[in-house]
Symmetry: C2
Subunit: 367 residues, 2 copies
């Protein structure tokens, strides 16, 4: 493992642009932001990104590899994001397809506090897939959402999260919903002897986020849902370090980065970056649902979340986004059992949430 951040790009050159210029442009833009003529030899060798490889591909595009010294980053996730895709986001035809992380940066970012093993401990499910569902829609009262929460808990859903669009709207204000939904999982646990976890959505303003995290902790929740591309990715690290709650990350807004020729590969953002920032579970839109991810992309995300990565714990892949109950066991067999199966609509469509959840959980156990 090198002590440089090593980034691989696929470049699509625009009219009048050579691959050499484009690659050097990236190396300068993401570090010194000055033309070479303004730099002395020390800055050129010590700080500027170094072009390690440039290869023409069969389809007319290019693969470039540039490595960056830690001196251009420091130890902060924010500057790391900036160096990855800050200014070059404003250009065209640059897609990051691989990142090799130096050990000091892995140590600085840290990754999940719980990870797969920790989530298994929290849920009491030592093996097999975990089941997750979402409380929705926005517009219901807190009491109505709590009743749904209770039904899911009776049905044995391991993690019951707020829908990511359920925030702090007037129909079900955060504080009231938190109290009622947490009471609902506790009531169900008293009845069934098995404990579901309620993960409230704490995605909120900069000032409010810590208050919601504290409220969730005070209420007895063991984890929360957060949309880190909306709060800022570092909010995950903050929540991890200051509150000790398990973190389920939602991909809202990230899709803007997944252009075919420009952006970051899905598995880098929803895999590497979410994991390094502290997500114990990373939700992504599964193939075959309402969104367009391919099976290969989903498997690449699974791999990035679970692969060995220094001392960083693995995170739970959480495929969702319109998954059909009937096909869920098939996905478990394909992806392996270290996943969280996130199913909302396909349970709601059956009406009896407790019964539908119970049947699904049994089907998953048998998968």
């Amino acid at each position: 493992m090198s002590d440089r951040l090593d980034i691989t790009y696929i470049l699509t050159c625009q009219a009048g642009e050579t691959a050499e210029e484009k690659t050097l442009g990236i190396a300068l833009e993401q570090t010194v932001e000055l033309p070479q003529s303004c730099l002395d030899a020390d800055l050129q060798t010590r700080i500027t990104g170094r072009v390690d490889e440039l290869v023409a591909l069969a389809d007319g595009r290019y693969r470039a590899r540039i490595s960056y010294p830690l001196a251009a980053i420091g130890g902060e996730l924010t500057q790391c994001l900036n160096l990855l895709f800050g200014n070059i986001s404003l250009k065209r035809g640059i897609r990051i397809v691989d990142i090799s992380w130096p050990e000091p940066l892995l140590a600085a970012l840290g990754g999940p506090a719980y990870g797969i093993a920790g989530l298994r401990q929290l849920t009491g499910q030592a093996n097999g897939p975990l089941l997750c569902s979402a409380l929705k829609p926005v517009g219901l009262s807190a009491a109505q959402l709590a009743e749904r929460c209770y039904q899911f808990a009776l049905g044995g859903v391991h993690i019951i999260k707020d829908d990511h669009g359920v925030a702090d709207q007037p129909d079900a204000p955060f504080a009231e919903r938190l109290a009622l939904c947490q009471a609902a999982v506790e009531r169900a646990a008293d009845e069934t002897g098995q404990r579901s976890l309620y993960f409230p959505n704490v995605t909120a303003s900069y000032r409010e986020l810590p208050r919601r995290l504290q409220a969730a902790k005070d209420a007895g929740c063991r984890g929360v849902l957060i949309s880190p591309w909306i709060t800022g990715l570092d909010a995950l690290r903050f929540a991890r370090d200051e509150f000790g709650l398990a973190l389920m990350a939602h991909p809202a807004l990230t899709g803007a980065c997944f252009g075919p020729d420009h952006g970051l590969a899905e598995e880098l953002l929803l895999g590497d970056l979410f994991r390094l920032a502290g997500a114990d579970a990373s939700i992504y839109p599964n193939a075959g649902g309402r969104f367009g991810f391919s099976v290969e992309t989903c498997e690449a995300i699974n791999h990035r979340l679970r692969r060995p990565l220094g001392a960083v714990k693995p995170s739970m892949p959480t495929p969702g986004g319109g998954m059909d109950v009937a096909r869920a066991p098939e996905w478990v067999r394909r992806y392996g059992s270290d996943i969280i199966v996130l199913i909302g609509g396909s349970l709601y469509a059956q009406g009896d949430l407790a019964g539908a959840s119970k049947a699904l959980r049994e089907a998953l156990t048998a998968a």
Copy 2:
């Protein structure tokens, strides 16, 4: 002005997708996240997005207008972003090209604390364009950056900001740089009688950002630079409300949203959203520089930053990104004088920063 959030999309349909389905899919996805069959009449009329218009365009695409009730948003910028482009970012062929803001949301978000008039007061420049430059590159020591800061201040640059890639790296740690650069503008002011403002880059982790803002304030700075798409957009509102510093917003990472068929129009993100979140000045890559924005896009951003918008103050357009000193007066004539001209490299290339800055400021005054 309606009391609904009114969003206009340009839709590019994929194979097997009708415009009607796609539009209804957006209205559901961004609110209830359930199929219509799972919703009662109340939720369908009161919460779900309402399709107000769907028009086929000459190029095979469609223009759709959907309005959303405030009940689906509440008063938070985070949920507003989520409703704008949260889940649909993960789809394809959806570009937001217009937003009409309801008065209650304008009031909740607030906009700039200083705005154009406030920045003119802070800089003592009652009319004409303001001049801004950037301290770089990363890799220099704090003392070296402070010397550049001093030279720019001698040359009469109104606002001297850190480069957005200069964060808290070991060569020039934030605290040391802040102290030396602020001392540099004060020393220059003692000599020349005219006061430049130093805006340190406070883009940092969730925990560190408030500390840097406080340090900047304690040091006597009147404003800061921040990259809100990296910190989370709401960090602007937080900085505005808690620290009272002027805010210059940098577009790092936003470019991922500017796909030709998918994303948000540049003027909505760098114009409306940055302004509403509290940016007193919004930096964008000017036409003719290192980036690919068209003049029309730049003018649309200028318009969105300066147009009347309820009680929200106008923000200063800040074109930069490789602008040539020689062409700067021309841009002022084209864009009007309520702008900040941001020039870095083209001053550095001249070597004598004080002299080059002085000449440029004189040229701008004469523009």
